[in-house]
Symmetry: C2
Subunit: 419 residues, 2 copies
């Protein structure tokens, strides 16, 4: 057995053992561990920042720059946010053990569904030490064990953060092995994880398209992920145009490089003449380049003509595709063809069309009169998220504590047998 | 493109189109289609029985026998059961469109989860024409389209049943393409289905271990299935021994060849001397062979010693493994090691141990004082089932209408944007 395989296998095995203990633990111990982690982040703040500074230094020397370097960095404020998140997760009710849909069958057998942890989660993610704390906290609250494999640039930060988490677990009387870090930065370690379907119940990958594809194609266990966010705003004929402009601006400009940013606007033909010139003026002033379908060009001054592959494209940049549609049906067809099941928005004052859009559009979050940037676990009230799923099995949308659990059937009998 | 690929692709594509229509339809149309199918099964009963007789004849000539031949056959009674099932599914409330967990966030955005169909289901199953009707009915009720690929022996029966279903759909104003049959009996058609992740949202295989493995290893989309049912009965020190005997008998003898039958009994040492001789007498009389751990042999007259691979084995036959355990912990460890996450039973009168077993055992159905034979969608009140899942993602246990749906997030705003 290769050394890489041996290391990963050993981690996964001990995580599996810890998972059995975690599933049987009560909410109080989990809460203690989370609150102890808050204290440890306070007590060890200097050490954490020092380890992170070393990661940053090495990453800069290796040529890392821009948003990637930004995501790697921790400071007093990001640590304060992490601690606030830990407190929030600690305060949430324990999801495990909840019994729902209990009914008594004709033979007297009482049957319901009990919420239980998933088991062991494999989390493969980018170089963002905050994600280490968030993922471990959600996993712990849900009663799981987790095997973390973060980006190599964050290894020093992650090593210390996981040590602190393990200390918090141990002091709360929980198995330290419930949070594990794969200390190997080569891709071989990822490939080994994907083979361990006996020990890992699910893999959640987060990162670029290449990593996601690698995981989806090689994992022997179920995978929860989002591929990309090609998100549309449909501006209806009865839209409040001020609202539409505000949402388009927020969706495209506030953080263009993220998965819940806006990539295309579809405008009803009756709103085009009034909306499009103002959209162009406002977005161009914010540095956005418009790529317009030829049917939108007459309303625009500077926009270039969109090419065929601009539809369904995730620009992740200050670029926005624009098209005029004859009716809502055309918008729905466009979204069905080019959308990526992530986030879709209608702006309308019409009741029936609002409800129809809400019902018929197939996306993890469908919004009426709000910015697509809300597709985020914290924004939607889940406390935090470990990722967003755009596949429909198990979870569709942001994944928080509840999405890291499942239910089993339970039955309380008095000797019933089948006739 | 091969002819097989072309045929399967065309079916999947038209199912995908139908799925969009189905998702937008209301409950009344779906109910009309289901009730029309009941009428059609009445009107065309002779034709259905004739097609089935031809299938049976050909299967007999090809050497099919035993339970497989039994599953292939339809008669007036099985048709009556199918019609009763269709009426039950029709009478269930429409799951689609239900909004749950609606909350108003601090910014006034109202966020909830709306239940929606999964989309297109691929169902690959054995030669059992009843399953064709049940799967199509569940899929329809949940608002999905379904691509059916039944065993080759049932092709004549399935072809007619699917034609009737398509007629019922069309007469109810729904797309006939929402229920499709793959008319090809070679395995190449299965392999082609597994590649169509663009069109099929999930694959549900049902059948022998070979088929399940083929599907699990080759499918590009999520798969819901159960591998096997290695189900234990733990008889506690405080058990009602009459009840334990009754449940052991029902679990093992009533239908030994099915996945929810009993395969092993674990007896607390304090109950062994009284229970085991009676268990042997009763089960031997019913034709059951006991395979005993050496610690159980002293209590038994005729049992042979179990070999190492009798633990964790799905006998699917009148064979039962028996072991004495020193305490409940040993039973829990045995089940964690050898169980298959299908069905596990404790017989006890002790409150704390009943609850502990219920909570700690990781299986799709955990029962106190009832027969494992209840792990079945109809028995558990789901109306019917398309299969039983022993993997924890999305569904764990029998899969009925609800398990063929998912939820998306929906948000009702008044112009909210992110700050």
């Amino acid at each position: 057995m290769s050394e890489v395989r041996e290391t990963v296998l050993e981690l996964a095995r001990s995580a599996r053992q810890a998972a059995r203990q975690m599933a049987a633990t009560d909410g109080a111990a989990k809460q203690r561990a989370l609150l102890r982690m808050v204290e440890l982040l306070d007590e060890k703040e200097n050490e954490v920042l020092k380890a992170n500074a070393a990661d940053l230094q090495a990453a800069k020397e290796a040529g890392l720059a821009g948003p990637k370097l930004g995501r790697l960095g921790l400071d007093g404020r990001t640590l304060a946010d992490l601690k606030a998140g830990l407190r929030q997760v600690a305060a949430m009710p324990d999801p495990v053990g909840e019994i729902s849909q209990m009914q008594t069958l004709a033979n007297g057998l009482q049957v319901g569904r009990m919420r239980i942890p998933l088991g062991v989660i494999g989390f493969i993610y980018e170089s963002r030490p905050g994600a280490t704390v968030e993922a471990a906290a959600l996993s712990l609250k849900a009663g799981n064990a987790i095997v973390l494999r973060g980006g190599k640039e964050a290894l020093r930060s992650n090593t210390l953060l996981v040590e602190l988490f393990q200390q918090a677990l141990a002091e709360a009387g929980l198995p330290a092995a419930a949070v594990q870090l794969v200390p190997l930065s080569d891709r071989a370690a990822v490939l080994e994880m994907l083979k361990l379907d006996e020990y890992l119940d699910v893999i959640i990958p987060r990162g670029g398209e290449g990593l996601i594809r690698l995981v989806a194609e090689n994992a022997r266990m179920p995978v929860l992920y989002h591929a990309k966010g090609v998100n549309h705003l449909y501006v209806d004929e009865d839209a409040d145009l001020e609202m539409a402009l505000k949402i388009a601006h927020n969706g495209k400009v506030q953080r263009p490089g993220v998965c819940n940013a806006l990539e295309a606007v579809l405008v009803h033909q009756d709103a085009a003449a009034e909306l499009l010139p103002r959209l162009e003026a406002e977005l161009t002033a914010a540095g956005v380049e418009l790529r317009a379908h030829e049917n939108a060009l007459p309303y625009l001054k500077q926009a270039r003509r969109a090419s065929a592959d601009d539809w369904g494209r995730e620009f992740l940049d200050l670029i926005l595709a624009v098209k005029v549609v004859a009716a809502m049906d055309e918008a729905l067809n466009h979204i069905a063809r080019y959308g990526s099941h992530h986030t879709e928005v209608i702006v309308t004052e019409d009741y029936a069309r609002a409800l129809r859009f809400l019902r018929e559009v197939d996306a993890s979050l469908v919004l009426v009169n709000a910015s697509p940037r809300f597709n985020d676990g914290f924004q939607l009230g889940l406390g935090a998220e470990i990722g967003i799923s755009t596949s429909k099995l198990h979870a569709y949308g942001p994944m928080g504590v509840r999405e890291l659990t499942t239910t089993k059937f339970v039955g309380l009998g008095q000797g019933q047998v089948r006739g």
